[in-house]
Amino acid sequence: MPRTGSKSLGLLDRSLVFITGKGGVGKSSVTAALGLLAAKAGKRTLICEVEAKGDVARLLDCEPGGFQPMKARENLFLMSMNTEEALREYLRIYLRLPVVAKLGPLAKTFDFVANAAPGVEEILVVGKLCYEVKEAKYDLILVDATSTGHIVSQLASPKGISELVRLGMVKDQVAWMEDILYDSSQTSVIVAATPAETPINEALELAERIDHETEVHLGALIVNKVMPELFSRSEEEFFALLQDPRSTKVLNKIVSADVGPLLRGSNAALEMRRCAAPYVERLMASAGDTPVALLPLMFGVGSGMKLVRALGEALAAEWDELLWQA
């Protein structure tokens, strides 16, 4: 991986970081956790939800942001992407077009543009993000990005659009976007997965595609919801002793209840970990130089701020040197 200078730049020292992965792996909670870490470290941080479902807002216990960024906490801002508004803003800023108002329902025009050339919709997303980087109102922009299938076309959209649109303003605009997007000291991508077959496969495939089809820097891989190790080796041996019907009988007597469900529960947990282990190993083995963080499956933290804080702590513990420049 090409790195500028001898010191490697921290993930959160960059200006634009995309977090992607298969649906259901916890992209939004990882994004929120990174956002909270960065904000706490004094970085003015903007989180942008691309598939605006409001998940990040719910995680951070705040109102869902609109296209205009809203303050969620100290140093932390939230916006949701809206391509139609991005187009409106683009027309206003770059074309200085009062005509926009006279265009009639912009929505219809937009529908046409987006439908006829999907690259246009993607470039509007990427364009808005790059524009915010250029404006430098924030130290860091974290993108809760689209899931695996579409992120590559988004990241590659400046290239794709050049193929379609050979002239015109869009074409001229692409160059500066590429400068931001394809500069590893400014932009990076984190791919998240959970330890199961499809999410790990998709993450590895995606990492490879990002490498081959885009010039965007792949910053790190995250395996989320990893079942923590329940027993040490000797503990597991002792647990096996406990499971012998004779010891279970003794135990039942001591507690005057049936310990069966408890033992089954532990077995289930052991089995889950055993089942997930090969996928974690495969990802680690295929990751090469790309750093990997394993985040434990969190219990009893719900799906709000408590989860975000816990994930943040886990990330900081696992990745302290990776997140910030020493």
């Binding site: 543009v113 027993f231 002793l241 009893g300």
Partner: protein, 403 residues
Amino acid sequence: MAGVETLIDHSRIIIVAGPGGVGKTTVAAALGLSAADLTGKKVLVITVDPAKRLADSLGLVGLTSKGSQVSPGDLDKAMGHKVEGRLFVAMLDAKSSWDELVNRHAPDAVTRRKILSNPIYRNISSRFVQSHDYIAMETLYELYRSGEYDLIVVDTPPSRHAIDFLDAPSKMADFFSSKLLRWLTMPARNRLLMGMFKPFYQVADKILGAQFLSDVAEFFLLFESMYSGFVDRAKSVAGILENSETSFVVVASPEPVPMTEAEFFISALDARHLRLGQMVVNRTLPGYFRDPAAILLANKVQDDYEKVAKELLQKGASLDLIKKSEFSPARLEALAERVLLEVADSFLNFSGVAVEQADEISKLAIDEELITLVPHLNFDVSDLNSLGKVAAYLATGTEAPTM
């Protein structure tokens, strides 16, 4: 709970929808297997992007939209008995399905060739995500009309919102019949009207460049020759959703986000008068995690683990297992304490999750008969045998005592 038997009996099309990452493809494949087993029908499963090992085991390598049969011997082995029905699987190939559609509707060879090589068309057919939703419906329609299969199970493409799938045909029809597109192709036909739309062209020209606009214009002029066929077609395709023999199966995992999305989808089905055949809640934790007596015990052990450990070693001293164990007495006691505490902690952790899951499930505002729970499985569904187990859960619809 009745499981999926009634659903399978009454449907010719089953559309499996739901948020990403909940095991939609697995449920679709298991439904197909279950249907072939329970009804003896000829069943086709159309999937979009199966996990590689599942695809391999189904013989899905390099398949197109034509179905290929899963070996009957393998089916028997997976279900543990003779399976009367036949199971076929097909993988959706958006690009070639679009090309087929053009081949069917293009008036002549020249138009066909021009469309297929138009850059806008190529972009739409291969990359446009919504177009995958549409083409999945289109493929379904074609297969349904062919009458070749008794039952078709469709695994819907992953999209931003499951709901997109429902609207794909009407959106496609709207798209091709929109006034805006007529305007676009107008310059070629009626220059007089140009003035009215001058601002639009100015902007479009400026933003996108003239070459792009002319590609777009060409695309729509070409498509206009197929226009009526295409719009009629999209309407017929939309029609099969409303067919009385079409049912929807909504899949979710029992966590707040996927469940909310699933509920939203269910109410959208309702609003469109479409039929919810079954809601499958995948990866539910087994019921014993919610057993009040067990939870009470886990709490007790958590509090008294030192005492319980001591007693265990005393009362269990006669047990060969402990006598023969290689650990020293002090080490043994420490181990007993740790293990008992871990067992209790872990149980309570999972209990918490199981209670949350049950809570999510109880919030579902649908008939209990329509809910099927599939347990969190301790294996990857990566071959026909494990798929057979999922099929069995779907068929019985009972909360299975696994793990």
